[in-house]
């Protein structure tokens, strides 16, 4: 007997049903519309390419719950709990659409009830509801008793309310499912044995002595209670602080499809594309991230800046920006004519009554401190671990661009000026770019164009004392293997990575265009480099400026030489080695195997892994231009990672990146005691193992 078939105070149930639905839907749409209008305040960004792929990819990621399961590790199993809760609740959403929507609403109730479909579906729901309830118990234990670090934060009242409210609502809905089943079956006829829990409950109720009318009344009341809770959820959901169930799906649809860690393209001729004075200067997609954040805090607990005591938390950045958008957004909507103010006087020149003048919080200073902005190493751990595929790091770089391009900061002034004037950030280097090659008979492309491969040395490899040995090692290996390669020598200019990561986009474009022109004029097609930062920039960022080349990292190149038996080591060297994954090689470009293959090509080497390796490796602290900035707060990130290496009891710490090498060599010097751990590039280890003549190997 359909609950909507009866009359209530003389009004037909159908009318009540649809009337309530219309009101709830109205409120829902009203709030959703405002939220979307706030997104539209943001600058444009094109994410409409490959829509079919985007959509199917989202379905694959969310329906399999890979978004939650990817971060599960032995310390934190919460992703599993979320997966079960999600699957359970999705089944319930389908349940509500079919049995309430089509059943009660459209009138298919009688056909559906007691059908085989209902029996099967409700049986599944019985199990699903149980799993959801168990998941909720898990949530309660985790949030209120265990209280993991990643969930600890200062919450607003709205945020404090929504959590217990949501738990209560979900548990109530699951309980109501059983009750509605039980009372419904007890009142109108119990099926044979399935759904098991519903049927058992109904039998119990039958024996309780309540009249059939009584059971039917309770059934109808519970049914309407269930309906009103659902409508209440519909009204409250977009008004709550818990927006991710509504927006994570679309955020994953519009996720970054360009190479990992890609930054926003900007137009240097148009300051409005890179000035960030208010929250609506971010793009709509960057604002969508704010809604999609699940507050899981994973980004917070993997951020090396946060873990080493710097005033930066990707989670707090996102959530503070979200609060700020919701607070100031409605005013910004009214003041649509607010133009981006001049560089020198941000708030001071704004009209007294405008949103800009009224903003109580400055983006830079209140939402995130300047120290926090520069603390980021761009290691990408936050973006890798985010279940909603947010881009926290990208926003930080946008803020850096605002400061650098607007000449509002003196950060990294010396290295950036040096890059502008001398083509490299290593001011004070005593070397010329070809000094390392003296006596090695290396071809310079300007003099001899006949080369198959360009060996891109990079600024650090050519100009930093310690790294010269690595450059020589790589060159020696290539010569030994008979590779026909050449270098640009003095013509080589910085790849531009430090400039780009420090926000000085104009300097990046200047050096990048110069390099691309050089490559074209020498008909360069294939480039090998020993620096992951150069590798990432040349491979993934130059194409957008018109430079498309085949770029190979030296770990891949050397691994290939071994695979083809062009290089072979016969003498065994008994050493215990631990390999440190470079962020720009690992997380950015998913290159984990080749460096390990190179190490394993040395007979006698035993590879031990640090606990944090591959995708969740810990940064050395040198990325994001931080190689050229002082680290004065908290612990040194490089020292933290060095400790992790020392804990493995390895004799050698192998790296494949000049920044990592520098950072760890320095950390080893400042750290007291332990000098037994040797830090080497993989190329140096191969050269040592091949026992290439000392006099050539030592020239620096």
């Amino acid at each position: 007997m359909s609950p909507v078939a009866a009359n209530y105070l003389g009004i037909p149930g159908y009318v009540v049903f649809w009337f309530l639905f219309a009101i709830a839907l109205g409120f829902f749409i009203q709030r959703l519309y405002l939220l979307i209008r706030l997104l539209k305040l943001g600058r444009p960004e094109n994410r409409s390419d490959r829509l079919f792929y985007r959509f199917t990819s989202m379905l694959a990621i969310t329906l399999t719950q890979w978004c939650s399961l990817k971060s599960v590790n032995h310390k934190d199993l919460a992703g599993i709990g979320h997966a079960f809760m999600f699957w359970g609740l999705i089944l319930f959403v389908i349940n509500y659409l079919i049995f309430i929507g089509l059943g009660a609403g459209i009138g298919l109730f009688t056909i559906l009830s007691s059908s085989a479909f209902e029996t099967v579906f409700f049986s599944i729901l019985d199990v699903a509801a149980l799993l959801v309830i168990l998941a909720m118990i898990w949530v309660i234990i985790k949030r209120y008793f265990i209280k993991p670090e990643r969930l600890k934060r200062k919450e607003s009242i709205g945020e404090k309310i929504i959590q217990p409210l949501l738990i209560t609502v979900i548990v109530s809905l699951m309980a109501l499912h059983y009750c509605i089943e039980g009372f419904g079956y007890a009142a109108y006829g119990i099926p044979d044995s399935w759904p098991f829990i519903g049927v058992s409950f109904a039998h119990f109720l039958n024996g309780s002595g309540i009249s059939q009318d009584g059971l039917a009344t309770v059934y109808r009341s519970l049914w309407w209670l269930n309906y009103i809770i659902l409508l209440g959820a519909l009204v409250y959901a977009p008004r709550s602080k818990h927006l991710h169930p509504l927006f994570s799906f679309s955020n994953i649809v519009f996720k970054n499809l360009a190479p990992k860690g890609s930054l926003r393209p900007i137009d240097l001729q148009k300051p409005e594309t890179f000035r960030i004075s208010e929250v609506n200067d971010f793009t709509w997609k960057e604002l969508l991230d704010l809604y999609a954040c699940t507050w899981c805090g994973m980004c917070h607990t993997v951020c090396p800046a946060q873990l080493s005591g710097k005033p930066l938390s990707p989670r707090e950045l996102i959530l503070s920006l979200k609060e700020h958008l919701l607070e100031t957004g409605p005013d910004l909507l009214k003041d649509k004519t607010v133009t981006v103010p001049a560089v020198a006087d941000e708030k001071a020149d704004a009209e007294p009554d405008s949103a800009l003048a009224k903003t109580s919080k400055a983006l830079i200073g209140d939402i995130i401190s300047e120290d926090g902005i520069w603390a980021c190493t761009t290691c990408l751990a936050c973006q890798e671990v985010c279940p909603s595929h947010n881009e926290q790091m990208v926003k930080i770089i946008d803020l850096r661009r605002h400061l650098q391009l607007g000449a509002l900061t003196e950060i990294a002034r010396e290295p950036l000026k040096n890059l502008r004037v001398r083509g490299h950030p290593w001011r004070g280097s005593m070397y010329a770019r070809t000094d390392w090659a003296e006596g090695l008979g290396i071809k310079i492309v300007e003099q001899d164009r006949d080369v198959d491969i360009l060996y891109w040395v990079g600024c650090t490899g050519a100009l930093e004392d310690r790294s010269l040995k690595v450059t020589q090692a790589v060159a020696k290996l290539m010569k030994q293997a008979g590779v026909n390669f050449g270098i640009l020598g003095e013509e080589e200019m910085c790849c531009g990575d430090p400039a780009r990561r420090l926000g000085a986009e104009h300097l990046f474009q200047m050096v990048a265009m110069n390099n691309i022109q050089l490559f074209s004029s020498y008909c360069i097609k294939k480039i090998v480099t020993a620096c992951p930062h150069c590798f990432n920039t040349l491979k993934n960022e130059y194409p957008r400026l018109g430079g498309q080349f085949e770029v190979i990292h030296h770990s891949q190149f050397i691994a290939d030489l071994f695979k083809r038996n062009t290089l072979k080591i016969n003498q065994a060297r008994e050493t215990v080695v631990t390999y440190h994954d470079s962020c720009y090689l690992g997380r950015y470009n998913d290159i984990y195997k080749p460096p390990r293959q190179v190490l394993k090509s040395i007979p006698g080497v035993r590879l031990v892994e640090m606990e944090q390796n591959r995708k969740n490796c810990f940064c050395c602290g040198g990325g994001g231009g931080r190689m050229w900035l002082e680290e004065n707060t908290g612990q040194r990130i490089s020292e933290m990672r060095l400790s992790q290496a020392i804990d493995t009891r390895a004799q050698v710490m192998a790296t494949a990146c000049p920044f990592c090498l520098q950072m760890f060599e320095d950390a080893a010097k400042t750290r007291e005691g332990e000098e037994s751990l040797k830090i080497r590039d993989i190329a140096e280890l191969i050269v040592e193992a091949l026992e290439i003549p000392r006099d050539l190997a030592d020239k620096a």
Binding site: L268, P271, G406, A407, S429, E490, E491
Partner: protein, 263 residues
């Protein structure tokens, strides 16, 4: 509206790596390598910063003058990006032979040609020749006062107030404008321009004058001639002191250092 003139010299990069630095002994000149572009002399950049700091607080017109045989546009026009309003390039083949007197004379002539000026700023000395004579020379030729080694420069209505560096401190000097002031690095590092400053620099006026435009004579070698320019031969001797213990080696070291009068 104050008129400030800043004299900036384009020099061989003082931070050039040793392996790229060579002297052409016949031409008596350092060779400008292709690999390392020339730069603006560092003290001159400080002079420009001093000018721009004055411009930050009062309405001023900053003109940069640069003299040389062949100036690199990208290098000298970076002064416009930093904030100067106008660039005057004095370029002539003959200027390559110039000494400090002729340089000061040419620049002073250009300044007279420009007309109005309240303050002329120069770097203490150029990073290649390090003579420190052009700034004082300009003052002498124009017949105006000169204050050297300024740490701080303030421009009032009709006078300057300068903190001048001394070996053990500084003294404060006031002088009526117009005046020449030469600056040290303590005046402040030259600001790095933002992207908009770079863009707008392209629209600022650049005037180029040669010797004929200035009406000065060339070919006259002036008051002194360079006879020879060379890089000192780099000789290093390494003597290793042997000894059976660290103490013995230490004694030998101290004896040796006393012998060669280091201690």
């Amino acid at each position: 509206m104050k008129n400030i003139i800043v004299c900036m010299k384009q020099v061989l990069d003082p931070e050039i790596p040793l392996s790229l630095f060579h002297i052409d002994t016949e031409a008596r000149q350092a060779i400008q390598p292709k690999a390392m572009p020339p730069v603006l002399s560092p003290f001159d950049e400080n002079a420009l910063e001093a000018a721009l700091e004055i411009k930050d607080i009062q309405e001023s017109n900053v003109t940069v003058i640069s003299l040389g045989k062949k100036l690199t546009k990208a290098v000298v026009s970076s002064a416009l990006a930093a904030g100067a309003d106008r660039l005057v390039i004095l370029q002539d083949e003959a200027f390559g032979e110039f000494n400090t007197y002729l340089t000061a004379n040419a620049i002073a002539t250009a300044i007279k040609k420009l007309g109005q000026y309240d303050l002329i700023l120069c770097g203490l000395q150029a990073a290649d020749t390090n003579t420190g004579q052009v700034g004082t020379g300009i003052a002498s030729i124009l017949g105006i006062p000169c204050i050297t080694a300024a740490l701080k420069v303030e421009l009032d209505n009709d006078k300057v107030r300068v903190e001048k560096a001394l070996p053990d401190g500084y003294e404060v000097i006031e002088a009526p404008t117009p005046v020449v002031v030469t600056t040290t690095y303590e005046v402040g590092a030259l600001r790095e321009p933002g992207v908009e400053a770079f863009m707008s620099a392209a629209k600022k006026p650049i005037t180029t004058w040669n010797a004929r435009d200035l009406g000065i004579e060339t070919g006259n070698t002036g008051r002194f001639t360079m006879i020879k320019m060379d890089a000192p031969a780099h000789e290093s001797k390494c003597e290793i002191l042997e000894g059976s213990s660290s103490e013995e080696k230490a004694v030998k070291l101290v004896t040796k250092l006393k012998e060669i009068k280091v201690i």
